[in-house]
């Protein structure tokens, strides 16, 4: 008996997929999106600064990928995105946080719908805090940047706000896009 298998994400156990749910995006596409997000961040994000904080397209993408595709895909995408950020000036502070946030977001995927606006926004807020906290700890340990907690916390609070707004826009845009496509 031939049985249609659910779409393969990267590796690891496959989740049972609802018949109506859209297939998760390919990992190559996610990598391309991550590369573009990092490129936009290092090139244009300085124009979007709000009280010292910039929105992180990569964080939103990592969290959304984790929710949509699971911890494995989310974790590896977060790791690769963090490597790209560090290679372009992060100094090694982003890769751990990226991988951790991707993986943790993926853990939520078995319990929550990735299409839920509330879930995505809450996950993005938590992911931003975790990423920045990990980065702060790495910076503290590796470089001894003492006394920057207040500045870091202030920027993180504003970044949470910006990232949540960005995530809301992305989710709403994806909903509009999926509703626009004709049903098969």
């Amino acid at each position: 008996m031939v049985r249609s298998s659910p779409p393969r994400v990267l590796f690891g156990p496959q989740r049972p997929v609802d018949a109506g749910a859209a297939a998760p995006p390919r990992f190559a596409l996610l990598l391309l999106l991550a590369a573009i997000a990092v490129l936009l961040q290092v090139t244009l994000a300085h124009a979007w600064t709000l009280r010292g904080a910039q929105p992180s397209l990569l964080t939103v993408l990592i969290v959304w990928t984790g929710l949509r595709c699971g911890p494995t895909t989310g974790g590896w995408l977060g790791l690769i995105g963090g490597v790209l950020e560090d290679a372009l000036g992060g100094g090694g502070a982003n890769v751990l946080g990226g991988a951790l946030v991707g993986f943790l977001s993926g853990l939520l995927s078995s319990r929550y719908f990735a299409e839920s606006l509330t879930v995505v926004i809450a996950a993005v807020a938590g992911g931003t805090i975790v990423r920045n906290a990990v980065s702060y700890i790495v910076l503290e340990i590796a470089y001894g940047d003492r006394g920057t907690y207040h500045r870091f916390a202030h920027a993180t609070a504003w970044e949470v706000l910006l990232n949540c707004a960005l995530a809301a826009i992305v989710v709403l845009a994806l909903r509009w896009w999926s509703n626009r496509r004709p049903a098969i």
């Binding site: 911890p71 490597v83 992060g90 100094g91 890769v95 751990l96 991988a99 951790l100 993986f103 470089y143």
Partner: protein, 273 residues
């Protein structure tokens, strides 16, 4: 059979451990490179890919931003353009005034130099009118008898001899130019010391009654000779053409006046010999 997924099943744990090991390794690599002030191999590869992309994106965004800015501020640019054009017009007018002032300054300096080379008192006068009939070569100056000007006063410019005063009013005087045919100025060639009489030919002047044996050359300088009216040594012009006939008693030379009579503005009128 339905698979039961635990929160920390074996595969997830494996992925988690792998992620942490790889991330920590990469992080340590980056930190080590950063603390030693060099680039890691990852930095080099990523930088090689991203640098041209960043440059292209930055240029594109700047071009789009400039275009949007230009469109949004088109009205403002038009106003600025108009203001700059007005300013340019005012500056051009001011520049012309300054150039005119500079030219006048140069002319007055030449007049002053001329005054210092000639004996006697003199007043500076402005040309205020020309004789309407084209048959006469006269000008009117704004100095008259009240300024010490008298009939036959010698008039010079910074370049040379202009003429002499023909008639005087209280506030103005009429000056007969040396290019008027009625004018007759005793003169000599500075190089050969040959004498003659300079009269006008409407546009130029000619020196008549030059000794037949005198050697003339084009470019010879002609100056006034001492006479009843003119002091000696005022430049009249240079020889342009020579008219010498073997059976004539005298030679004649056509002169190029030193003074440009079409652009005269300021002259020096001698009030005493």
């Amino acid at each position: 059979m339905v698979a039961i997924y635990s929160f920390w099943d074996e595969r997830k744990l494996l992925v988690f451990v792998a992620l942490i090991i790889v991330a920590a390794s990469v992080s340590l690599l980056e930190i080590d490179a950063s603390r030693n002030g060099r680039q890691s191999p990852i930095d080099v590869v990523v930088g090689a890919v991203y640098t041209p992309l960043q440059a292209g994106l930055t240029r594109m965004v700047e071009a789009v931003g400039t275009g949007v800015h230009d469109v949004l501020h088109a009205g403002e640019f038009a106003a600025q353009n108009q203001a700059l054009q007005d300013k340019a017009g005012k500056l051009a007018a001011a520049n012309q005034r300054l150039q005119a002032d500079a030219a006048e300054n140069r002319e007055l300096r030449r007049l002053l130099a001329m005054k210092q080379t000639l004996p006697g008192d003199a007043v500076v006068a402005d040309i205020i009118g020309y004789v309407p009939e084209s048959t006469r070569r006269e000008v009117t100056v704004d100095r008259g008898s009240r300024d010490g000007v008298h009939r036959d006063s010698v008039v010079v410019s910074g370049d040379g001899l202009v003429g002499h005063v023909l008639s005087v009013g209280p506030h103005e005087a009429r000056v007969l130019l040396v290019i008027d045919p009625e004018s007759a100025v005793p003169a000599y060639l500075r190089r050969s010391r040959s004498w003659g009489i300079v009269t006008g030919t409407w546009l130029h002047a000619k020196m008549k009654y030059i000794d037949q044996n005198a050697t003339l050359q084009q470019g010879d300088i002609v100056v006034t000779g001492h006479g009843e009216i003119y002091p000696s040594g005022i430049l009249i012009g240079t020889v342009r053409e020579i008219d010498r006939k073997d059976n004539a008693l005298y030679q004649t030379a056509v002169l190029e006046p030193a003074v440009d009579f079409h652009s005269l503005q300021h002259v020096l009128v001698y009030t005493s010999p």
